[in-house]
Symmetry: D2
């Protein structure tokens, strides 16, 4: 093998001259990378059937076209709530049946990819797994749409190299998700990197969405950051919302109420229109 | 003096309950902090009378209401072009006379504050001077409107403490300018911190504007970042523009042509309208 | 379960009043956390039987008491050399047999823990896996000594929480390895955080070692950083060395020759003596 | 002027082939850059004649050969103690007379350089002033020895460019002082960058010293960091010490007592000997 071949292959994640944007379809009605900005809502973690279904209904009414919710949760401490696992997956499926929203949920372990892939419409690779290469290979082989979150200190190049692991396995259904980076500044949990969105739209053909909730870590700033994300050119938004945030088992402080989620939709829709897109 | 007094004084930069936003007026027609977003254009450095006047005319036609241009330039290396100094100041005054645009220019040395203040409508404190306390005191005493740029490494708290030096000297005409922070990421020169804008609008009554040119360091991303800045809630934009960027003595790569500046105005105006403001 | 119980459990990684330092034994002769500083040498990756055996002999002669070498390599790009895998593991075992050095090698995938654990004396969790929680649980269950590298972006608290995953599974044989953090500075690949070593020796009972090779990314600085690591209080050093660095398939630029490795041993031994330890 | 000339001039701070290390002499007996490591002690700020004289005596007895103490203090907040100014300068002179220790003190304002230079043996440029170009030019013109601290987020290249401002004014008496950089990690106030010391000793002929006190911000870690600084190759140490730390008006938490300062001297002297130097 010559050294030129890997270089050529590496072009999978990078935009080639004249190459059109990749569209990633999820379920029957969701398409990432098109003119319509994709709004994903839902809680950090699935906690009960009622919680996930009621939240799904609320975000659907407020404009979300897709449901998020964690069944396996990567927690910094082993003593924190780790998710309802298989049981949570079934609750997500039930919420989908009742609302029609396709579901995206995180997979943490390469041994779980097949199991989660049988239920989920899209597999999320979380920030801490962005360089979990065995896991990336498995979701690549699965062929399922992949939501690849940026790590807290991952460069754009490393991130695209991570995407390359999925693409190299023959799966081109990759959506990148900027979620805030770790910097010296501690005013908010992370610093939302709108520059990364602008650069990625220039150098890759893959869709790029933004998670303003994890960047802010504070519900008061989520709507403003979501507007900025739409304005800079993001193809979608991943927003934490909870039926009753005060009762959430995790990320309570950054979850929007249904009313706040509706406000986000209204404001972001106006910005989307201003830049010639829809939401 | 009791320890409680300093705490009370410190409230000058922080928003008190019910306190209205501070409006900073510059010249007869510019007001920072009001419903209308203030667009400032102009070159990195004043290079010649023709360059500054022609650029001023171009940005005025494209919607700018204020002119920027450096006469004293803080350069990383002592061997780089350091600005035309007093001569550049006179050229700025001439450009103002011909276009009606008030001018903002940087002052680097406390010994120059009086001299620069006699000509400029607004004094800029650059990123490298954000904790130059003798300089902050002098611009405070001058009473002139101050454009206080964030340092590349300055926390929001340190930045407001820097503003406090100006405010404590009796000068409340302070406008904060986010211009990108230094992070691990090197895709662009700096990382534009839209989170800081959102947080500042919450905790301070002072106007907050954004400089997308220095954040990006690359003209191709300036318009997208400017849209994000408007969407997140910035009260103004400071944008580098040059009559003929390719001939610029500094920052050539991040300067917009008059045509690109017009495009920025058009796109940001649409976003401003979408969020209930004007530009 | 009351909320107090998790807090109590969390104390596993943190030093309790009066708690002695944990000693982690590997093989018959290596003990981390004791007065003698543990010197580990070897190549980035196992490349051939001759390469690993000759390097093992060279570092053993130069004072190393343990051999490192990667059989599974986590590479940023999917097109880079990924290691010799099972074959590399057998080569390591052969090198151990010929030199008597116990071996530490990285495990990337929870599905490989049992297989790697059957051969290796110590399992390395690499920087990119520091928050790979399923993997941490598996090495915890394995009971094997674990070398837990800090992530490039991991705070000390997050790192100890990662160790807690191993400890909570009943495995207290955890050695922490500082290997440089990602900062704004790009003079070297990473910034070796000697502060972290000083803090960890204060707050945890677990042994702490330093990898100066990955911090520097440049062989010219490895010896100086190793001296600093010993001086600040590290319990060991993990140093990349290669029989013939110029021929290395990875990390060639940071690998020491046998002669340089000998120099490192001599200099670090003098520093160790100065602070009342041995090496 | 051709573009080649500035490049040639820039070589002033960078080591040329075969160029010997620069020695910076201060007072009759202190020499930075030689085999003997220079130990500087003293308080953050001069607070009273008794405080500075007693502290000077204590650090002199414990091995310090030079006295530090701030008369003008750059404080984040305008309401914090700003130093005794001219009065403090006189107290430093008095302490020098009684102990024989030459003094280094910070100058903040270009208008004060002449006044401070008449009394101080060495002028300190603080972290916040590292890119205060008018100030750098003035200390360059003064010809006095300059202690140039690194900014909290200054790259090595920017730092040497700052030194170049002094050198270009004809003053080659520049000593660089690493004092910790700002990173994502918040375990200590800053992260001491020992890599920078190693790199600087390679690329510049100027002496490099380390301030472990500001890096740590916590007296418990100062001695360990000082040992690391000596081991990595620093030419000196700048250590905060106070006659009675609990009564200090600033930096109380990072100041060593005379007893702790003696411990630092003893331990660092042993490490110095181990690497073939003295202290």
């Amino acid at each position: 093998m010559t050294s030129a071949q890997p270089e050529k292959k590496k072009a999978l994640a990078y935009r080639q001259t004249g190459q059109p944007d990749t569209l990633v379809n999820v379920g029957a009605n969701v398409c990432f990378g098109a003119e319509k900005i994709v709004l994903i809502g839902g809680p950090c973690a699935v906690e009960s059937q009622k919680q996930i279904t009621d939240t799904a209904r609320a975000v659907a009414e407020a404009g979300a076209v897709m449901l998020r919710g964690g069944a396996w949760k990567p927690r910094t401490s082993p003593y924190d709530f780790q998710g309802l696992k298989e049981e949570g997956l079934l609750m997500l499926a039930q919420a989908r049946q009742e609302t029609g929203l396709p579901i995206v949920t995180e997979v943490l372990d390469p041994r779980d990819v097949e199991k989660v892939g049988e239920v989920a419409d899209m597999l999320q690779i979380g920030s801490r797994s962005v360089q979990n290469f065995p896991l990336l290979r498995e979701v690549g082989i699965s062929g399922k749409p992949v939501l690849l979150k940026r790590g807290m200190m991952t460069t754009i190049e490393e991130w695209l190299d991570a995407a390359e692991y999925v693409l190299a396995a023959g799966n081109s259904n990759v959506v990148l998700c900027e979620r805030g980076i770790r910097t010296f500044d501690t005013a908010l949990r992370n610093t939302l990197d709108v520059c990364a969105v602008a650069v990625l739209k220039h150098i890759t053909h893959l869709p790029v969405i933004v998670d303003p909730s994890h960047a802010a870590g504070d519900f008061r700033y989520v709507v403003a950051l979501a507007r900025a994300a739409v304005a800079v050119g993001a193809d979608g938004l991943l927003v934490e919302s909870h039926w009753r945030p005060a009762e959430a088992l995790s990320d309570a402080n950054q979850s929007l109420t249904p009313g706040q989620f509706q406000e986000l939709t209204t404001e972001c829709r106006a910005v989307a229109t201003a830049i010639g897109r829809t939401l």
